[in-house]
Amino acid sequence: MIILTYLLYLLAAVLFILGLKLLSSPKTAQRGNMFGAMGMLLAVVVTLADQRILDFTYILAGLLFGGLIGVVMAKKVEMTSMPQMVGLLNGFGGGASALVAYSEYVRLGEGVSLASLDVMVTLVLSLLIGSLTLLGSLIASAKLHGMMRSAPILYPMQKQINALILLGILVLGGFFIADPGLWYFPIIIVALSVVLGVTSVIPIGGADMPVVISLMNSYSGLAGAMTGFVLSNNVLIIAGTLVGTSGLILTNIMCKAMNRSLANVLFAGVGADYKKEDQVKEERRVVRYTPEDAAFILESAQSVIIVPGYGLAVAQAQHVLQELARILTERGANVRYAIHPVAGRMPGHMNVLLAEANVPYDLLVEMDQINDDFQNTDVALIIGANDVVNPAARTKKESPLYGMPILNVDYARTIMVVKRSMSAGFAGEGNELFYDKKTMMVFGDAKAVVTNLVGLLKG
């Protein structure tokens, strides 16, 4: 029986790996996700057959209640709110891991002094990472959801205090490992980790939350893996580790796309000081164009690259934008979308937002693939994006954007920018692009302007 259980757990782990592997192509991705779900179902069923389980009442209640919440969340959530949703789920996963680790300690009870060193070490790590993930994710989600001020909250000695809390946790953990009988130590460790979860995320600005969410994704996996060590359960270790690496890879990609180090994102409090000098700068004039002018240019364009930013989604203009793209395509133009890695509020977010608006995914092109094409493009149409097309990233050494890879929209023959106002992007850096001779600024709400364009081009 035990051997069968382990073999079936192994099968579940294989399904997880195959499922992630199938995510490498949009054609097979949905099947891959199904594989993952099947692996999970298998693991749960195998576990329920475990002889150690004597009472199913609480289990069923928990499964039904949790399942119901999960279904409602998954059905109701708006695609724009996906980062918060993933954040919350990360937090729950991390919290569950910490709880399991702790209840294992409670279960060991009297026998705890016999618990081996490795169980104790991983128990402490699981408590630490799990609780930190729970609270950190809740704060990140609250910031993304606008329930909390998204600007960094800074106070003196912040880093030092956080370091001190972490040190405190580790020291307490050390004592606890040495004497597992100190039953109140885990509670203090959890309490401190919860505090650290809050204090380590509040100094991070809203624009950097995608990195935090990715990092929390990694932590939730790691917490699972640590709990796997505590329970000597290999499927937990495998699944947790896979998720841990996945989150880490995504974190790394996001940092690279912003040309920032992880340390800089976590500790620098970027976004706190919107540079005042920019606001008192000389008033330069940009040339304003009307949607009629824009439609006239688009009418004769052979090739158009659309650069969508999060502002597009805020204005709910994805659907009408795709309508515009369709009309232009029918007129014989080659229309594609250029997706910057940090477009949206989490890795790959913009792709989901456009897919929801029925944009075929083969028209969504990554930055590296499309950047050389701008020079042969008639119109680069920028909607709701700012920092990712700011040439200051190439040239202006003192800019916070300097070194960030950007979309080469300024190489296109005409640059069309649809924007509400002249305000700076998240980074607080003014955009030289708007003053370019090739640039047509069309001011207004993205949805209104694009709807207008659609009407003009149809007629």
Partner: protein, 103 residues
């Protein structure tokens, strides 16, 4: 160091390499579904919480276990379903049929 721990460390290290290998092949196009889907997989901690909630020892262990079951189930069910919903939106450009897909 016990043998079990040693085996676990082996698995941990090898799984890291498998993870890096598999995840780096996922295109940026699918990074959001990757996050939500892998997130659901990390809900595997459900397995541990089931045992904690069902052992019938009563008291604290069961209460904590049950809370853990709820949290992990939200994670698993919510994660897989929302990933499925998202992936269902990704469609290829099939020229003429495109309009049919438009809801």
């Amino acid at each position: 160091m016990s043998e079990t721990l040693l085996v676990s460390i082996y698995i941990f290290v090898l799984a890291t390499f498998v993870g890096i290998e598999v995840i780096s092949k996922v295109p940026p196009l699918l990074h959001t579904p990757l996050m939500s889907g892998s997130n659901a997989i990390s809900g595997i901690t459900l397995v541990g919480s089931l045992i904690a909630a069902g052992e019938g020892h009563g008291g604290l262990s069961v209460i904590l276990g049950t809370i853990a079951v709820v949290m992990a189930t939200v994670n698993v069910v919510g994660g897989f379903l929302v990933t499925d919903r998202m992936l269902g939106m990704f469609k290829k450009d099939t020229k003429g049929k495109k309009e049919l897909n438009a809801s």
